[in-house]
Amino acid sequence: MANDTSATILERVNEIEKSLQELKVDLLFDSLKKKKGMRMYRTEDILKETKKTRKQFWNEKYSKVI
């Protein structure tokens, strides 16, 4: 009888532990997703500005060398 009760409790503890692990993994991935969005500027804007700057330098400096 006592053994049956212990087994039931252990089973329940295992279930709780498993659920806790799942919750931890969910929380970790969730925080990673949020961090991915931690950008100060949009990548498209960076590429656009780089191209614009490059064009200016080309016209001002390098096109005269060619």
Binding site: K35, Y41, E49, T50, T53, R54, K55, F57, W58, V65
Partner: protein
């Protein structure tokens, strides 16, 4: 016998440099992390520095401190281009990306990493090194790591 991983010499185009300073979690940011861990050698040119400085001043002021921090990590900076080098590279790609490509050629790099797909296509198979997006470069890096691990077994 233990195999040793070759340190890739990677030229960063301005777009990748700014993008890496903008976020540590994307592929560009990961490349900078590899550099800081001495897993790759990072090369830039005076042209990349000028472009980055101007873009930061005009549009991205929050990247100023990360940019100075990156320069303090002492990447390799190539010498200034000569008119002859600009001219000979212009014959290869005939575009405004000429000074950047010339810097990478001068730096004798293994890879040039850029976000600009047009630049990638334009110079593809025309130079000795590969021109890739940050994501593709990381794939190559991972592949080379796996090869070294296999050789070491």
């Amino acid at each position: 016998m233990k195999s040793i991983q070759k340190l890739f010499k990677v030229f960063l185009d301005t777009s990748v440099l700014l993008s890496s300073l903008n976020s540590s979690f994307g592929a560009s940011g990961f490349i900078i992390s590899l550099f800081k861990l001495n897993k790759i050698i990072t090369v830039i040119s005076p042209e990349v520095i000028s472009e980055a400085e101007k873009a930061i001043k005009n549009k991205f002021p929050l990247l100023k401190i990360p940019f100075l921090d990156f320069l303090a990590s002492q990447p390799i900076i190539t010498q200034k281009l000569t008119p002859k080098e600009v001219k000979s590279t212009y014959k290869i790609i005939n575009s405004e990306d000429t000074p950047i490509l010339a810097g990478a050629i001068k730096g004798k790099v293994d890879f040039l990493v850029t976000l600009d797909k047009k630049f990638q296509e334009l110079a593809k198979n025309k130079v000795r090194f590969k021109i890739l997006s940050p994501g593709k470069f990381l794939e190559e890096y991972r592949k080379s790591l796996k090869e070294v691990q296999l050789q070491a077994r």
